[in-house]
């Protein structure tokens, strides 16, 4: 599913729409964890990373693993330095007001069944 479709269906905020071609990024699945090395072990290419972490170092992890993007949950907002770094590295930063559990439930249904329910 295209990232633009995920954003629309789940009403995500895009913190850095400057990333060229972000709409067309293919999202295959997701991975949820707030521990960086667990994400390095568990997240696969083209998956969305769902987390409450939003400091500078998450960008390096997302880039390292070729994540489709990072979804920051619970309404948390990354600081300017993180957004700037993400844009430089071509990592899409997204936001939701939902907590990780609620967001993952919806994303799971969307990616598995094509609808949120």
């Amino acid at each position: 599913m295209k990232l633009s479709e995920v954003v629309k269906a789940l009403e995500l905020k895009v913190f850095n729409p400057e990333v060229e071609g972000w709409e067309m990024i293919e999202v295959t699945w997701g991975y949820t964890s707030d521990l960086l090395s667990d994400v390095i072990a568990g997240l696969s290419k083209d998956e969305l990373w769902i987390t409450i972490q939003r400091h500078l170092n998450v960008i390096a992890v997302a880039k390292l693993k070729d994540a489709a993007g990072i979804v920051i949950t619970k309404g948390f907002v990354p600081d300017e330095a993180t957004i700037k770094k993400a844009t430089e590295e071509g990592v899409v930063l997204l936001g939701t007001e939902l907590n990780s559990f609620e967001f993952c439930g919806k994303l799971y249904n969307l990616l598995r069944y094509g609808e949120i329910k």
Binding site: L35, S37, I40, N57, I59, E89
Partner: protein, 148 residues
Amino acid sequence: MDSEKIRLVYRIKPMDLANAGVASSHVKIELQRYGIEEDVVKRVGIICFEAEMNMILYSVGGKLKVEANSDAVEIFAEDNGPGIEDLEKAMQPGYSTAPPWAQDYGFGAGMGFPNMKQNSDVFEVESTPGVGTKIHAIVYRRKRDETK
């Protein structure tokens, strides 16, 4: 390009979280340019990132060296202390000595060494408390189906 050898060296500064990942992402770019297979680059990137993070968070600083030739990519991470008290424990998944502030940032999953080992064909650690830690890892350049 394939016959010549590539050698990269980075100085890693302690507590330099702002630059964490810079060395490993440079390694990835250079190895890609050298024509190293994508899955090998990926594995080397993970090993370098974990080694880099370990040196930033836990050491007084050190060096990350990467050498590549037509057969393999070798990674050397050497710091100047303080060394690991219990290496056996450090190798266990889930074991961490990360201080609370680092845990708040999502460090200290206790997956650093397990991730490095998992992505290496050869993985060796030597650590002397009071002296420092030396990591040596090799990733062989083989076709994906031959590694299975």
